[in-house]
Amino acid sequence: MNPTNSSNSLMTVVWILVAFVLLVVGGLIIAEATPLVLPPAASAEAVQVDELFKILMALGGSIWLLVQGAVIYSVIRFRARPGDDSDGAAMHGNNTLEFVWTLIPSITVVILSIISFQVWVNITTAQDNPQVVEARGARFLWSFSYDIPGETQRVNSTVLHTWVGQPVVLHLETADVNHAFWVPSMRIKQDLLAGRRTEARFTPILAGEYPVVCAELCGSGHGDMHASIVVHEDEASFLDWFDDEAYIILNPPDDPVEGGELLMTAGGVAGLYACAGCHTLDALGWDAIVAPNLEGVADRAATRVPGMEVERYLLRSLFFPGEFLVPGYDNLMPQHQYQDPEEANYMPLDEALNIVAYLCTLSASGESACNVDMLPDMMTDMGMG
């Protein structure tokens, strides 16, 4: 280490330079792997985050190579040869060297902090004319809700629709526990905190469909709590979808069975019910496995409690889910409330009625297993409505 003459010290400088160049080149090569370890960047923010990621890959890669190189070199060069029982050099430290390796990391973290801060400011700056979407996490379903201009009803969907170049602001609220709204391709993530409203923003730049994932442990169905974002090519294509949805919401069918189906797919006054977060039902494209399968539920409802009618069983299950637990399942379903619209899990009785009417048709024959006209009377004698 301590060169004794000038040619030695020149060689040391040369070696340090060679090592430095190798480390820089190595770091840059490692940084080229960035796109391999990240999903495609589909938002303006993602592009900036990836640039930062790349810088860190280059820097981290160099440091990693430096340490690996030093260890491997030492292990080979400074191994004790067989029969050599002597000690190494009695070297206790070197103030210059220690100063250098304190200073360089210090400067590096300062620079990194500044760059990160700049990226942070860029990606969080509010954009003009954002599309505002209310997003809700409920165990274990994401739902997105859009204002229909001039109407009180809203368009609800389990898919977030937007279009290229349109800044999006999401207002995030949870119905129960904490969740985290994560769109890997957009590089955004924001926790949904019980009792608080949080916000996330991004500007998509690439048309396509991208997964939305829940990233905060929320219970048994956490791994299955996903949704997707559809980024349309342009606003017109977005409006094609939106106008269709809005038309359906604004012109609900009279038939209670059809109305029930609409409620379960497009939501009611309290937003989208989170049934799809836990239940399976092929007809509606639900595939969650946390709660009992709803396929053929009308047939099974007839046999579950001796002497109880199908419609009464289903109705009570909506409002008192703990009453008849299907063996093998825990009592996880939210207990719906029908009285106070301000309550969490509010479900007005007329909507409940339609939902039961729809569920009654989920039989092997496809015919309704109940007499829907009896429902209002039944509610009255259960003390409801």
Binding site: G88, D176, W182, A215
Partner: protein, 558 residues
């Protein structure tokens, strides 16, 4: 202080045979060496328990669907208990065990300052273990080791309360143990051993104890509120009644981030010993290593909210990014100082040294991952993904656990008078290193690509990478069996050694192996520089130690 002959308050212990028998470990004892072993043996037991759980987790994750578990709740319970056991019943008590066994020996003391308190602190661990595992059987906690409300308060079953009580006991145990360390190190150093002549392991234990004393009270406070919310109808964490879910996150991480350093700092101390002894070279930059332990301990108190970058108010995120970045500096100083220590040495590739070198190469990867997570814009993407899982396993397994292995290979001869088998040690090292690398590096990649953590079911695009991770994890599981077998076999078959098989300068080697009940016969005189290898004085000193505590006849000597 080195002139003490009568020792009040240390209890009595038999002065006959110095060897500690297995039965001694089941008894209430005031001997710090027995207590140290009690910590180590019980935590090794919990390592096997937690490791088995890890194997079950990796088995479940072989496929994207549920297969081993009946439902997600079972999986969540499993990973909650796996995390809690590994952190609170394996790594932290194991480090406490090393501290208890070694600190008085390194200081030339007869025992810790408060032997009774020491024993009491240990005996809080078995009931805590029973509560933790019992809670799992009763109605498992399913909110992860971080136990965020409202999932942990309004949704998780009764086992969550038992989990909290278990952590409460472990917190008290940790505080009492730490008080003992601070007092012992402050008051009981031998004459001539200033703070700047203490072994670096003692420095590290001191820094750790300071963190425990200052941080653990916040865990106690937080758990008290959690238990009240669950059992007494209060609503500190229930926003529906005026509470706040971020309150828990703040209090919890104010403890749990420093707890990360509780888990790694003693290991940093051990690796400084091991590298210096087995490279036969003084520690490079002794003061820098000692001071960096202290600065990590202090700065560690200012970074907690980097665990909350996706939940914290956005305006507060940047300050915590800066403090988190700063931690990289003292950590970097340590890594470079260790490199300086082996540079120009005469490296002996003992199993202890292999794990110490392996630690450096793995830990630097974990540290670089930490920088990614400290940068807010990147953390937003990586938060709560498998990147984080990979990161903390790199620093906890590649870091703390590698150092524990290294420490066990290094000090096993002192504790038992026998060396561990080196061939098995090499096999253990190679399998562990490969297993660690291929378990936890792919986890980083999977997380960055979009795999969230704590999921029993995942997107099928991650099937292949999860298969790689699981297979590597199974290799890790097998490698631990080599280790356990090596320990058990070496207890009876290991090569017998004298007092100082590695020719080390710190005081714990200047006595018989294992040490007698009061550690030293007469008052030990520390060598002036605990890392003064390469000098003639040190060779003379080591020769003298060897003559005084020779290896038994039947072996070839050390």
């Amino acid at each position: 202080m080195a002139t003490i002959t009568a020792t009040p308050g240390l209890g009595t212990r038999s002065a006959e045979g110095a060897a500690i028998r297995a039965a001694d470990l089941l008894r209430w004892s005031l001997d710090h060496k027995i207590i140290g072993l009690q910590y180590m043996v019980s935590s090794l037991f919990f390592f096997i328990v937690g490791g088995t759980m890890a194997m079950l987790i990796r088995w479940e994750l072989l496929t994207p669907a549920l297969d081993l578990m009946a439902d997600g709740t079972q999986y969540n319970a499993l990973m909650t208990i796996h995390g809690s056991v590994m952190i609170f019943l394996w790594i932290i008590p194991m480090m406490a065990g090393f501290g208890n066994y070694l600190v008085p020996l390194m200081l030339g003391a007869k025992d810790m300052a408060f032997p009774w308190l020491n024993a009491f602190a240990f005996w809080l661990i078995p009931p805590a273990g029973v509560l933790m595992i019992g809670g799992w059987l009763v109605g498992p906690p399913e909110a992860g080791w971080t136990a965020y409300p409202p999932l942990s308060t309004l949704f998780s079953p009764d086992g969550q309360t038992m989990w909290a009580m278990s952590l409460h006991l472990l917190g008290v145990s940790s505080i009492l143990g730490a008080i003992n360390f601070v007092v012992t190190i402050r008051n009981m150093r031998p004459e001539g051993m200033t703070l700047w002549k203490m072994p670096l392991f003692v420095w590290a234990v001191l820094a750790t104890a300071i963190i425990q004393v200052l941080a653990t009270p916040f865990l106690t406070g937080g758990l008290t509120l959690l238990i009240l919310d669950r059992t007494a109808g209060t609503s500190f964490f229930d926003p529906g009644s005026g509470g706040d879910v971020l309150l828990w996150q703040n209090v919890f991480w104010f403890y749990s981030h420093p707890a990360v350093y509780i888990m790694i700092l003693p290991g940093f101390g051990m690796v400084s010993e091991v590298l210096s002894v087995h490279a036969r070279k003084p520690v490079f930059g002794y003061r820098a290593i000692g001071l960096s332990s202290m600065s990590i301990a202090l700065v560690g108190f200012t970074v907690w909210a980097h665990h909350m970058f996706t939940s914290l108010q956005p305006a507060l995120r940047i300050p915590f990014m800066i403090t988190s970045m700063i931690i990289a500096v003292p950590t970097g100083i340590k890594i470079f100082s260790w490199l300086g220590t082996i540079w120009g040495g005469k490296i002996r590739f003992t199993s202890a040294m292999l794990f110490a070198l392996g630690f450096i190469t793995l830990f630097v990867f974990g540290g670089i991952g930490g920088i990614f997570l400290a940068a807010v814009p990147i953390d937003i993407h990586l938060h709560d993904t498998y990147f984080v899982v990979g990161h903390f396993h790199f620093v906890l397994f590649g870091g703390s656990v590698f150092l524990i292995f290294s420490g066990i290979y290094h000090w096993f001869p002192k504790v038992t008078g026998r060396r561990m088998n080196e061939r098995l040690g090499q096999l253990h090292f190679v399998t562990t290193y490969i297993g660690t690398f291929f378990t936890f590096v792919p986890q980083h990649i999977a997380g960055a690509l979009g795999l969230p953590r704590r999921v029993a079911m995942y997107d099928p695009q991650f099937t292949n990478i999860n298969t790689v991770i699981s297979l590597a994890a199974f290799l890790l599981g097998i490698s631990s069996l080599f280790f356990i077998y090596n320990i058990l076999r070496s207890l009876s078959h290991g090569e017998r050694v004298g007092g100082n098989p590695w020719r080390a300068l710190t005081l714990e080697w200047a006595t018989t192996s294992p040490p007698p009940p009061w550690n030293f016969r007469g008052d030990p005189v520390p060598f002036d520089d605990p890392y003064g290898y390469g000098s003639d004085e040190s060779v003379a000193y080591l020769d003298a130690v060897e003559r005084r505590f020779p290896a038994p006849e039947e072996s070839d000597g050390a």
